[in-house]
Amino acid sequence: MSSTHESAYPVHHVGHHFNNASDEFEAAKQGMWVFLVTEILMFGGLFVAYGIFRGMYPEMYVEAHHALQMKMGALNTIVLITSSLTMALAVSATQRGKKQRAIGMMAATIFLACCFLVVKYFEYSHKFHEGLLPGAFYSNTEITNPKAPLFFSLYFMMTGLHGIHVLIGIGLISWMILRSLRNEFSENFYTPVELVGFYWHFVDIVWIYLFPLLYLVS
């Protein structure tokens, strides 16, 4: 009931060290961009390791990547892209003060994120079963290339770090739903939702790089 009542919104207080709300919003946005740059560099380390070993053992990558389930990876790509869309809709609904719609869209985003993790769970358990494990635990006998354990080390490190980011994303979006329910956002103050949106798009983009690098080696 409170959703349409202007007076029901708790007023967000601009930090005492900012001149006005727009300065504060700009600072927060810039801060998020800088944070995402640091995230890119962190994933960058793994991408560089991937690239170096691919340069050294190209034929091993080709052989090993056939063990990944390309269809499940493709499905997850579609799931994540859709979740980016629902998140964008949630941000825009928050900006326009449409609380119910925003909460609905965020719930949809969380649902899709969970779908992603469930698919990932099936992929992981398939690999555990086949002995396609990182490094010293590798026990698969079908792939004959002796360097293949490295590919699966990289696979688990890269998708694992990405998976942790998906989990953190689910936590952040849940928190945003909670704050929406407490009427903390309005047309005048929606910074946290927008920033979580940035983060979620970033997680999506990382996957869009991971998918072809791991599943579509040629």
Partner: protein
Amino acid sequence: MQFPNLMPIAATDAAVRWNSLYNFLLGISVFFFVLVIGAMILFIIKYRAREGAKTFYFRDHHFLEACFIAIPTILLLGIFGWGYSVYNSMMRPPADALEIHVIGKQWLWQFQYDNGRTTIGNLYVPLNKPVKLIMTSQDVIHDFFIPNFRVKSDVVPGMYTSVWFEARVPGEHQVFCGMYCGTSHSQMLAKLVVLNDQQWAEFQRGKKIGPQPDARLNLAAEDTTADPSEAQAATIEPVSLATQGRAVFETKGCVSCHSAGDPTHGGANIGPSLAGIFGKNAALQDGQTIRRDESYLRQVIEQPQSHLLKGYQQSVMPTFKGLISETEMNSLIAYIKSLK
């Protein structure tokens, strides 16, 4: 300029060139130190706070600032060029250099010679002949450091690194492990013993070489004669490293698939022939070209899949990683190198 006690002796020509560069750097550093700190002290004295004194007022001086940039840049480029030229000569061994294999392991140094001898702790090399050390490690990273020669290289498991030198001073030279490698890192020492022609010939024949004087004592009198009482009679006829490798070639079963270009030895051409391949380029199945050096041979012996030659869709050769020791590997490579 000589710094007798500040530096180790310079026992190779490269070390002498190194010393000139080092002394130049010392000189230029002293000059800039005196310039900067001298100016600072001068200003401290001359411009110390006094009643009624007026200070200068200027913010910039573009010409001076341009000098601050230009002069050091030119000097540094010169230093870089000099440093690179000395480095370059230290990195390129002559083609006829005597090759000795070095294996580092926690915490000792092992040396394998062409003639099949193996020593631990003492590396014997001939005087006035270029020597190339081909080094690898059995466990963690070590570093072979000979201060008197100004050379050093990490010794890394799974790959070969090398240093080379031509010793000019006979006697014993200190060798350190330069890369921290655990508990007894500081005791992982070795002596590099430079032998004169006669001693070297004895060593080649398998004689035991007794303790030699410290090379620093030999620097003045560059010629020493071996004490004949030290040399003992040869007890075993050494087998050359390549011959040992031939035995490995047989016992490990290489011979059943690879031709050695020798009608009496190998011939089933399941795998590529190994005759005369060393040091040459080869085309790979993925279109790349690779030089077949020690590291290449080691890789394809340990993991045949890693470089498939052109014309081979897959490898039926087993993986030898873990099945062949570092000493066997060195002798096997020596054998392949010897094939014509």
